[in-house]
């Protein structure tokens, strides 16, 4: 953007790696060095990176559980209210609240609400959709991150962040290329 001051504080520093093994090693050492505000980027999920960065987010499961329970009670309440309160139909004296007949719809709504919770919970926690993100300012990132290269970015918000020192640290990890990430 033109109107931005040229000396804006950077978003962070980004290192590029050629293979997943180097990325895992780099993530492990970055964590060990004391950095916390950093992120790894890869063109496919790598479980070893999750371990190296100590990522374990159980909130998606919890959201899905809550979504499923909402669906369950919505399904039951809807059918009981319609069949026994709003529109009772006497068919040969059978009970209005014939719950076994309500199982299929309740089941489907439980699945439906859980699935919505899984998708929108995941997107919400990931902060997506996000039309702009600073990492895309790095040309190498846009050209390779979703295809064949592995990146690690330490963010300026980290307490330990110091442009020169963080750069030198990433250099020491065997990065193929280092780029400053503009805000």
């Amino acid at each position: 953007m033109d109107h931005k001051p040229p000396a804006a504080a950077p978003y962070g520093v980004m290192a590029e790696f050629e293979d997943p093994t180097s990325l895992v090693e780099a993530a492990r050492r970055t964590y060990a060095e004391g950095y916390r505000q950093f992120e790894s980027y890869s063109p496919y999920p790598i479980h070893e990176v999750f371990d190296a960065m100590h990522i374990r987010d159980k909130r998606v499961s919890l959201i899905v559980l809550l979504g499923g329970l909402t669906g369950l009670f919505t399904g039951l309440a809807l059918q009981i209210w319609v069949s026994a309160v709003a529109y009772p139909l006497n068919v040969g004296g059978r009970p209005y609240l014939s719950w076994p007949m309500f199982v299929p719809v309740t089941f489907e709504l439980t699945i439906l609400f859980s699935a919505f919770a899984a998708v929108f919970g995941m997107l919400g926690l990931n902060g997506l959709p996000m039309p702009y993100h600073p990492v895309f300012n790095v040309e190498r990132f846009t050209a390779h991150a979703s295809q064949d290269r592995f990146f690690l970015a330490i963010e300026a918000t980290d307490a330990k962040f110091d442009l020169a020192r963080t750069r030198a640290f990433l250099q020491g990890l065997g990065a193929k290329e280092i780029n400053d990430v503009e805000q």
């Binding site: 496919y44 990176v49 499961s61 299929p104």
Partner: protein
């Protein structure tokens, strides 16, 4: 000669591939301007048949269901036959994407994307029939959906037809979300590879700003796994509910406890046949032999053989229970099915669904794409005939001989049915043009370079 004496399955991706070759080959199909002439031919045929469908539906809306061959006693015919046939075809897509994922079958990776697309388009074709089967679809709103209307009426939740509405609409919605979530990382790849700005913008919007962050991947994988876990009981429930449409009625030939498992097996059988029908030409047309290997085709052949045998078991036990029940209506129904006026349908069904697929016992047949295509065509026809048998032969001669009748489809029935095949074809050809038909990011995980050195296998 062979360094590995112990049997190891052949790889699911041909050796020599890297991240780049996988990405280029699959994304290239979407991002190129050139396309095989057969693609244009396929879209053209599909489009013309879709126009035929629109014509048949328009005439139906003008005249009503009188243009169809349905009449008492067969008040339910092509609409429900085609509905069940299409929805069954859809089931293989979910089976491949969800159940095989939970079972950690890595060969699913190269077929799950287009199988899921097949599911979506099959469900779209299926959903058309219940909508139009009354000839007055605008009335369906208050028959089917629970919303407060000025008449103060509500749907009957004890009816399997309402269960069907909930099951099928949930199935369509969840399949669509599952498919889209699976597409997200690939849309990001297409965004980054696209050369022209409008295309990049388009894929950029669809990719929602996906950037492959590790924290995102972790939640993504969790959500994807949960969706697979949710889709698995869902897909089994959908065809179970579809079979309830029949079993809850007391008509001989419908009122049977074997229906739910037999319908689910039949759905998977029909679906795998359709996946093979699509996969065999696709791999030749787009040179995907490296990703859709003979091992994939052979495995699909095996699944077809197993589910086909379950279906055969269903046929045998339908006949056995009719005899064992000592119920004259049940016994007459099965006799009428085999030797009544519709006997050629029954025996063609047995030929297509039971006799021909026995060829799959032979390894040479399972590893020959041409033979698999040939057998899958038989199964496609056979599974349609099965639904025809179940619907028509049960209804046309039931309890009261004075109300017996015959059913034959009219040209409008046939135009609607073949029209949906055209709609399916057109949607599928458009899909392979605009979206990657194989999951690129999952294929990357199968490339040898994707392994982290020194890590335990997981």
């Amino acid at each position: 000669m062979d360094p590995h004496p112990v049997y190891a399955p052949p790889p699911v991706i041909e050796p020599g591939h890297t991240f780049n070759t996988v990405t280029e080959q699959i994304a290239g199909i979407v991002l190129t301007r050139r396309h095989p002439y057969s693609w244009f031919f396929g879209v053209f045929v599909g489009f013309m048949m879709t126009m035929m469908l629109l014509m048949a539906v328009t005439w139906l809306l003008i005249k009503g269901t009188g243009i169809w061959g349905v009449n008492i006693p067969v008040g339910w015919a092509f609409a429900i036959i085609n509905f069940v046939w299409w929805i069954g075809i859809g089931h293989a897509g979910t089976l491949i994407s969800a159940i095989l994922l939970l079972l950690k079958q890595d060969w699913r990776t190269s077929i799950n994307r287009f199988a899921e697309a097949m599911t979506l388009f099959a469900v779209v074709c299926a959903g058309l029939f219940p909508l139009i089967h009354t000839g007055r679809p605008w009335l369906a709103a208050y028959w089917l959906l629970p919303y407060p209307n000025t008449m103060g009426v509500w749907p009957q939740f004890r009816s399997p037809l309402i269960w069907d509405v909930f099951a099928v609409s949930t199935y369509l919605t969840v399949s669509l979300m599952f498919w889209y979530v699976g597409l997200l990382p690939d849309l990001a790849t297409l965004r980054d590879r696209a050369k022209s700005l409008p295309i990049r913008r388009l894929f950029g919007m669809l990719a929602l700003g996906w950037r492959g962050a590790a924290r995102h991947w972790e939640r993504y994988e969790e959500a994807y796994l949960l969706l697979a876990g949710l889709s698995t009981p869902l897909v089994l429930s959908v065809h179970t509910v579809v079979s309830f449409d029949f079993t809850i009625a007391i008509v001989p030939g419908w009122h049977s406890t074997i229906f739910p498992p037999y319908f689910v097996a039949g759905a998977i059988y029909a679906g795998f046949a359709m996946v093979l029908t699509l996969a065999v030409p696709l791999r030749v047309l787009y040179h995907l032999e490296d990703f859709l290997t003979l091992r994939h085709l052979e495995n699909m052949g095996k699944v077809m053989l197993v589910t086909g045998l379950i279906v055969a078991y269903g046929y045998v036990f339908e006949a056995f229970f009719a005899w064992y029940s000592s119920n004259q209506y049940e016994q007459f129904m099965i006799y009428n099915r085999m030797f009544g006026p519709y006997w050629p349908f029954y025996w063609t069904l047995i030929l297509c669904n039971i006799v021909v697929p026995q060829l799959l016992w032979i390894k040479g047949m399972r590893t020959s794409p041409a033979m698999l295509f040939f057998i899958s065509m038989f199964v496609n026809v056979g599974m349609w005939l099965e639904r025809f048998e179940i619907v028509v032969t049960s209804l046309h001669r039931d309890f009261l001989p004075s109300s017996w009748g015959m059913y034959w489809p009219t040209r409008w029935d046939l135009m609607t049915f073949f029209g949906t095949i055209g709609l399916f074809t057109m949607l599928f050809f458009l899909f392979i043009r605009v979206l990657p038909m194989i999951s690129i990011f999952e294929m990357r995980t199968l490339v040898p370079a994707a392994k982290v050195k020194g890590a335990k296998a997981h």
